[in-house]
Symmetry: C2
Subunit: 588 residues, 2 copies
């Protein structure tokens, strides 16, 4: 309590009392009291979102804009914008629920991580003042004056249509602002409610697109598909090799993924009856190879030693230039790469799991076609990657499939083999988690030896009439598991940490909640520690992309984080080869 | 003299002695002593331009980069970069001429205005360190590290070619930086000497293109042509009307001027054997209508009350997007508009004449198709514009022509009419200054009355066998002169200033030095004041464009200046009509 302070502010709604000096801004004091006041426009009186009810005390004179907002929102006369209200007496106030920033929960599983909604893309509904003959301000100046900006970037494209839009709408428009400095769209009348973004996770095998309402952070719909680049190679290495065989191949890979994404975006928008002009930004989280291929950047440097990428981070790009079918002046933000094969999917995952703020030692493991491992100790972040191949995603497996309806995702032995399929659809194949369960069961039953040999003569284990596991399938799984297992072992060893010293292990990846922890430990995929310490966080890459879509703070955080993370190369360490061979055996 | 200071620095070359504290940066101290040390890279040790010879005193250890520069430039071992040298003893130094920033003189006539060369476009020659397997920095990070920038904007286009260029040139490249934050080009090996920009003045009637060496500010070549939009209307109003008659017409006007400019640029580059990829920026100064038409912006708002423009200022634009054939990632900077019809040509002219820094009352008059008048008093800037029509540029005149070889630019009566043509070529027609002289002579001789009537019956005055002045020509000139005359009168009146209170009148425009002051006063174009106060500054618009090309400071200045200038509308003042009619008479 500041005793030199003159006034007391009693925030009845939040049961808090704070003090203030003459002329202090009410919004500042509310924020200092730890209340997440909605200051969408950065306290410039533009968005009308921080209204509070002044129950007792001196009311400041209503500004022109406040008056307009009060009329529009049908508020009582004792409401004031906290960002315009200077304190001149003791106050008793109520902060309505609408004036508190919404939180969006980013991860669907594992950890509840709220993100305060403060997206780079913001919409404002405004009534501009017409130019007058005596002071004929240009149209661009009218916008600068409204937003109180000396410089506002307005694309030529928008300036071309501006006179017409203003004439039609009688100068009442909705403007979309980007990073508080650039106009992305100008639409006639009030289109505030139509404000969307898209989060995309580009995996080597699987692609996920999520449509997000930028006003409240709600996930409206999502869609999953195979990465259509698969036809040019199932893993990263084969695609990279394909890319520099012929100068046209890079374009083929780029066009392939772009077409897939545009089709997915179109479908998801169509079924939600949303016009693509109301999608203002896409955030893409993908591994280094995937984002290079999407951007049409040469991947040769990723293929040969010292295995480096062309870019680490990029400024927001033009969606139109890249070929994405959203708003013509929309943006594409690429989640930054950390180093080499540790890409934007991992940096996004680290944001989604909020690893930076956690105390103690944490392991973050992304189980995809590429297995990335990040160790956070008290002092530092160390990241490495290891090629697991696509087996965990059901690829290169005789009867393998993605974790979609009809996939055997879970198996157990209760007197007989019991199979569970996603959505209880008739079994069509086996996904990664199903494979792990099945191998674990067959190890217990002695059908498969710890060295991975199927003991029967056919070298094939029939699961249903049409579904089986072959000897080759087991070998694929052994390689995938060994990559992760030896990677984790190396990272811990190099940092002189025992697995018991880990607070938690976050498992990200397509596996989601389906992964059976006991079985994963049984076959050696995960280290043998207290089961409670294993947290499945699902598609953290997609969740991170969503966080980046919704929060300017998340972007600042990720951009500084990627510079802090140290890279650790497994390939150059001779010990890794030994560990890898040891890890091929199914055991912990 | 700072008596607490520890050390003395004797700058032998400049005959100055300064003091310094332990650890002070030598570059800072030299600058404080008022010496224009060349700190091209903002004292980051990147450009190697601020070498000084340390004659006596403690030499700092050579940094890696200094060593490289000393080798390249073959300097003695006692040379150090002033921007890296921390003072640790008394010093005696010599600053070589090469370490002083060059000055470029902007105006060719009238005022000597030096501009310190500090262009937005800067080239650096650098040897990058290759990525290593243990720390595989991305290529973009290598550049960021070199330039000590956390964020460096590198266009995707450049990133695509980067691996190849680095491989070919063994990581030795020349990078072109824009506004200290963006890379415009990456070229293999040392291309420092190939660094060009183009200044353009787009007048309603005449277009001038000037090729500038961005390393030293030298004007390499220039070229003048008619504005090819003339075919769609000789004055601004007729072109604007044409533009919104049909939606294709705007594109026609835009393409017309763009084609002219690209042809002029190609010619000038070809004849100087310069590749267009080494031109990194264009600065364009044009009146509001001209810059709107060039950008393809709708001009309807300029045609109807309240006569406002679409934009006032724009961030640098992409040359490629606009259709200019220079470096693919090159920029186009548009000199900002002031208000309505007072455009980027005038703001550039004000920069070229450095009006802001002058004390007292000044008048700036641009005599073009549009006549713009800016009054600078002790307190404020007031600007207005008046439609003079193209007569001053020899258009709409029976035998009129631009001020190019063969034009009668000067006439006097010495017992008989004596004509002077530009470059003494056979007379082909009459340009603006020639018309003024001729009218003045004919007024004296009584051939034309003060009301503008040709007294002979044919209503035509034969000048040579083929060249004559018609009654209509006289009327055109009367209108043009009256517009300027009444405009100046109104501006002075409204600010309660007498013409005698003006320090100077700067006359900008195509007229250049050719305008005869006595005759101009005789016919009423210029107010009757002391002749010494009339200063012809030539094409100030083009000179301003050149200043903007060469100086980051000039850009900051112009952007704040245009916001300060008050607009004064002649059209809305009923007094103007009366003054205009009075001004039609040839008298002062």
């Amino acid at each position: 309590m500041d005793h030199s302070a003159k006034y007391k502010i009693n925030i009845v709604s939040h049961n808090k009392t704070i003090t203030a000096h003459e002329g202090d801004l009410l919004a500042d004091k509310i924020q200092k009291a730890g209340i997440n006041l909605s200051v969408y426009c950065n306290k410039k009186g533009l968005c009308g979102k921080c209204f509070v009810e002044i129950v007792k005390g001196k009311l400041a004179r209503l500004s022109e804009r406040e008056e307009l907002f009060i009329k529009q929102k049908r508020l009582d006369k004792n409401y004031r914008l906290a960002c315009l209200h200077k304190i001149k007496s003791d106050l008793e106030i109520n902060i309505p629920e609408e004036s508190i920033i919404q939180e969006a929960f980013i991860l669907k599983t594992g950890i509840k991580l709220p993100v305060l909604i403060n997206p780079p893309v913001k919409k404002y509904h405004l009534q501009l003042k017409k130019p007058e003959i005596g002071i004929p301000y240009s149209l661009s100046e009218l916008l600068e004056k409204y937003f109180r900006k000396k410089k506002l970037v307005i694309p030529l494209n928008l300036l071309k249509g501006l006179p017409d839009i203003l004439e039609r709408s009688k100068f009442q428009i909705t403007a979309t602002m980007y990073n508080e400095s650039e106009i992305l769209s100008i639409e006639p009348n009030d289109t505030l409610s139509k404000n969307f973004g898209i989060a995309i996770d580009i995996g080597t095998t699987t692609v996920v697109v999520e449509l997000v309402d930028l006003n409240n952070g709600e996930s409206i719909d999502s869609s999953t598909a195979n990465n259509s680049q698969m036809r040019y190679g199932s893993d990263v290495i084969s695609r990279i090799s394909f890319a520099f065989q012929d100068s046209n191949n890079l374009a083929k890979l780029r066009n392939s993924i772009l077409r897939t994404l545009n089709e997915m975006i179109k479908q998801i928008l169509d079924r939600n009856k949303i016009d693509n002009s109301h999608v203002y930004e896409i955030v893409i989280a993908g591994n280094t190879s995937m984002n290079h291929l999407l951007l049409g950047l040469p991947v040769k440097t990723l293929a040969v030693a010292p295995f480096h990428s062309v870019f680490a981070h990029l400024p927001p790009l033009s969606a139109d230039d890249l070929g994405f079918k959203i708003n013509k002046d929309g943006k594409v933000y690429i989640s930054p790469n950390i180093k080499s094969f540790i890409g934007g999917d991992i940096s996004a995952g680290l944001i989604a799991s909020d690893l930076e703020r956690r105390k103690g030692n944490y392991l973050f493991v992304d189980l995809g076609t590429n297995g990335e491992i990040v160790l956070k100790t008290k002092e530092r972040f160390i990241a490495t990657s290891t090629a697991a191949g696509p087996a965990f995603e059901g690829m290169n497996i005789s009867c393998g499939m993605l974790a979609i309806p009809g996939a055997i995702y879970k198996a157990e032995y209760k007197n007989k083999l019991v199979l569970h399929t996603i959505k209880n659809k008739p079994a069509m194949g086996i996904c990664g988690t199903g494979l792990i369960d099945l191998i674990s069961v067959f190890l217990d039953k002695g059908v498969v030896t710890p060295k991975g040999t199927i003991i029967n003569k056919t070298k094939r284990i029939q699961i249903t009439d049409n579904i089986y596991i072959s000897q080759k399938d087991i070998r694929e799984m052994q390689l995938a598991i060994a990559a992760i297992k030896s990677g984790i072992r190396m990272v811990l060893l190099k940092n002189e940490l025992k697995k018991e010293e880990l607070e938690e292990i976050f498992i990200a990846g397509a596996f989601g909640n389906y992964l059976n922890i006991k079985n994963s430990m049984r076959i050696g995929l995960l280290p043998q520690i207290n089961e409670d310490k294993i947290i499945f966080i699902g598609n953290a890459s997609l969740a991170g992309a969503k966080a980046l879509l919704l929060s300017q703070q998340a972007r600042k955080k990720i951009e500084s984080l990627v510079k802090r993370i140290q890279y650790f190369s497994l390939a150059t360490d001779p010990l890794f080869q030994r560990y890898f061979i040891e890890a091929l055996e199914f055991k912990n």
